[in-house]
């Protein structure tokens, strides 16, 4: 057993998993309330990465920032989260709200339309070229070494920030009044509205939070992998959705755990399974099928009585 390889794969798996988990939370929360598979969510993540890039370059670029890099980082996260949150609310208002009473397939296709729209709008206004975060010059190449384990600054930041955001979200959903409203809306929308909960407002808040988390994941992706492009949201979104299903869709702790499982599975299959670097996505797919076959409701999901 090569422990060094194992540890480093674990680190990259946890980094990937942290980002998948953040995106999966958005899928899961929206699904919990609307029973809607929000295909456009992966593209919201992509927009977040672009907003982060524009904040970075608006403040002078990776080389010439006038203010401290830590502050720039903070502003990138805040900008991406706010921008994506507003975008998510806009998408919900425009593309999903008119379809609440339509057959289930209609909002799905509307979501597909939003997804194509966002991808190609990014192509139209940002161009097809890759945008470079240039993490190398921006936050430095500092690598922490513990024995055989190497962990880079952006990786540490991603895992730390993601866990921080998840704790904040859990506290918000568990303790706050709005969180309580979200939980009851997800439990039974009609009954919640009869109890005086403004369901439209709760749904808008859910979209805001979910999209903001995806935006944060977008900035992290840019920092860790250095480059962003307009189609990156699709496959990442797909894997994040896998994470949500593995964890049990509709469940918030499920999305977090599922994200880390999918990230680790991807990293380990790259390292250990035959032809893993080519077919890592196939192995993730196989994992999804396995989970669906054994426990369709996911690890943390409740078996629901299905109707319609």
């Amino acid at each position: 057993m090569d422990w060094s390889l194992f540890l480093n794969l674990t680190v990259s798996g946890l980094t990937l998993g942290a980002m998948y988990a953040l995106i999966a939370l958005g899928y899961s929360m929206v699904y919990g309330i609307l029973k809607l598979l929000n295909f456009a969510h992966g593209d919201v993540f992509m927009v977040g990465a672009y907003i982060g890039w524009f904040v970075l370059h608006g403040l002078g670029g990776p080389l010439g920032t006038d203010i401290a890099p830590d502050l720039v980082l903070l502003l990138m996260f805040v900008g991406a989260m706010l921008g994506c949150g507003v975008l998510g609310v806009g998408i919900e208002r425009f593309a999903y709200r008119p379809l609440r009473k339509a057959p289930r397939i209609a909002p799905l296709i509307s979501a597909l339309g939003v997804s194509i729209f966002l991808q190609n709008s990014a192509l139209l206004i940002f161009g097809a070229a890759f945008r470079d975060y240039d993490t190398y010059h921006f936050v430095g190449v500092k690598t922490f070494q513990v024995g055989n384990l190497f962990i880079s600054g952006p990786e540490l930041l991603t895992i730390g920030a993601a866990i921080g955001l998840m704790i904040a979200l859990t506290l918000f959903v568990d303790r706050s009044r709005t969180g309580k409203a979200m939980r009851s809306t997800s439990y039974d929308r009609e009954a919640a509205s009869m109890m005086g909960i403004d369901v439209d407002r709760v749904i808008a808040i859910t979209f805001f939070i979910g999209s903001a988390l995806a935006g944060a994941a977008g900035v992290m992706w840019g920092l860790v992998f250095g480059q962003i492009y307009n189609y990156m949201g699709f496959i990442v979104g797909l894997k994040a959705f896998t994470a949500a299903v593995v964890g049990g869709i509709g469940s918030i702790p499920g999305a977090m755990v599922g994200g880390f499982i999918v990230g680790l599975a991807e990293a380990y299959s790259t390292g250990y399974l035959p032809q893993g670097s080519i077919f890592a996505n196939l192995y993730v797919f196989a994992l999804l099928i396995l989970v669906i076959l054994i426990k369709p409701s996911g690890l943390f999901g409740q078996a629901a009585i299905t109707k319609a």
Partner: protein, 495 residues
């Protein structure tokens, strides 16, 4: 359908009540209202169309399609005819899965690719196999149906969205596999170049039945026409068969269908593998037309196109889908040149305005206001900021001249237009939420902004990003306006 037994007159409600009554299902009660759904000039056309017997509908579709290659150049047959046919066939097969049985299959294009690659392997210099079409086509169809069955097998436990995500992943896995299957080690065989990787499989044989080659574009066209007619006839027969009715019951309410002792799992698998068989068959024909199997042809882009066709035509409608295919394939071809793109764009905007703004006085006010607004903005800009009007509209002719005097064309426009594009999208989301008066007033600058972005930014990328942006926007708009598609059967979901 008029020559069936005459239905008795529906009983009139005793007290003229419109709403649902006790003991009468709401959906059944509203059936008359749904039949009355056609408005305006479309109404006599739609009613005449509905009265036409099936054979008549089919003839009405075949005759123009059969004449088309005789009156136009070979290039047009290739560009419009063949692709329309291929897409129509694909959409018809997808309609069986999504429209009839209500299963959201997002891996459908992979079956199309599977058929194409299977045929390409059986009939190309790649392994030096040159099977005749009469032997290869049945093999392709059976193999695709089997693969569809296998993919459907784990999906049979899945409801709606899980199935969607699984099939979407299957589609991705297929593309990933064919892109890399030239350099991986297979069990038992070892290294072999199965799919040619990203270079694909070139030089696929043309279709050859019993030694007779169909290499000419017109011959391929008529072959496809025959295939479409066969598939349509088959679909008509399936739709009203025992299985077809069971599928529709399944689509409306799986739980109720199961309670009526329908074999839900078997029906789902059947729908899945029949759709896969049609897709594989189409793929085999497509690969002989394209003469090469390339991995990029079977990606999400095509999936979205096929869904757009099916949605435009309407779920469950067979003739609607043929029209959808014609619209979706010919419009992008027409959009390729600026000279065509402009009338389509302004035409669509005008039609949308006419359909949504009532009464006509309000519409006249908006249009008049828009023209006046443009001239005022142009005058102000040329007096104070001449840089904003120094550019020129693309193309020539009276309309471009008009635009030059009415619309702003700044020099070095790119950054400004990109920012305004984002602003425009935000405005399109916000303006409809406002109170009615503000909505009408703000519509004028919004339209001006849309035209500005269109003329200065979007029209340059008409073949690339713009086309897909419009496709995406169309899907959203269509879902909001008419969730069942243009010619679809309205169906309610009982929740």
């Amino acid at each position: 359908m008029t020559d069936g037994p005459v239905n008795p007159e529906p009983p009139t409600p005793p007290d003229g009540q419109d709403g649902p009554q006790i003991g009468r299902d709401e959906w059944v009660a509203r059936v008359e209202g749904r039949r009355e759904g056609y408005h305006g000039i479309m109404r006599p056309i739609r009613e005449a169309w509905d009265r036409l017997p099936r054979a008549g509908k089919l003839t009405a579709l075949i005759i123009p399609a059969a004449i088309f290659p005789l009156i136009t150049a070979e290039g047009n047959v290739f560009r419009y005819g063949l692709f329309t046919m291929v897409y129509a066939l694909l959409a018809l097969g997808l309609n069986m899965v999504v429209g009839f049985a209500g299963l959201l299959d997002l891996g459908y294009v992979a079956f199309f690719g599977f058929g194409a690659y299977t045929y390409a392997i059986l009939a190309s210099p790649h392994y030096n196999l040159h099977w005749q079409a009469e032997a290869a086509l049945p093999v392709v169809v059976v193999v695709c149906a089997l693969v569809g069955f296998l993919v459907g097998l784990p999906s049979r436990r899945l409801i709606g969205d899980y199935l969607a995500i699984m099939t979407l992943f299957f589609g991705q896995a297929f593309v990933l596999f064919v892109n890399n299957a030239n350099r991986i080690k297979f069990p038992f065989v070892g290294y072999t170049d199965l799919t040619g990787g990203s270079n694909g499989l070139p030089n696929v044989d043309p279709l050859n039945f019993f030694g007779y080659k169909l290499g000419d574009t017109r011959q391929q066209y008529y072959l496809l026409l025959i295939a479409i007619v066969l598939v349509i006839v088959m679909l008509y027969m399936i739709r009203d068969s025992r299985t077809g009715r069971a599928w529709r019951a399944l689509r409306e309410d799986p739980l109720a269908a199961e309670a009526m002792s329908m074999p839900v799992n078997r029906l789902r698998l059947l729908a899945f593998s029949s759709g896969a068989a049609v897709a594989g068959f189409t793929g085999a024909i497509y690969v002989t037309i394209a003469t090469a199997a390339l991995p990029g042809d079977y990606d999400v882009g095509l999936l979205i196109l096929i869904y757009a066709i099916m949605i435009l035509g309407g779920f469950g409608s067979i003739t609607g889908i043929v029209f959808g295919a014609i619209v979706v394939t010919s419009v992008p071809e027409l959009l390729r040149s600026t000279a065509n793109a402009r009338p389509i764009f302004y035409g669509v905007i005008l039609i949308a305005l006419v359909m949504t703004i009532r009464p006509w006085k309000r519409l006249a006010a908006v249009l008049g206001g828009l023209i006046a607004f443009g001239f005022v903005v142009h005058a102000i800009a040329s007096a104070w900021y001449p840089r904003l009007v120094e550019g020129k509209a693309q193309g020539s002719g009276w309309f471009a001249d008009f635009l030059n005097h009415w619309m702003l064309f700044p020099t070095h426009v790119t950054t400004m237009a990109q920012v305004l594009y984002i602003f425009m999208v935000a405005a399109i989301v916000i303006v409809p939420q406002l109170p009615r008066l503000w909505r009408t007033i703000l519509l004028v600058p919004l339209l001006y902004l849309v035209i500005f972005v269109w003329e200065n930014l979007m029209i340059e990328q008409i073949t690339g990003a713009t086309k897909l942006i419009l496709l995406g926007a169309m899907l959203v708009a269509l879902m909001i306006a008419r969730p069942q598609g243009l010619a679809g059967e309205a169906y309610v979901e009982i929740v």
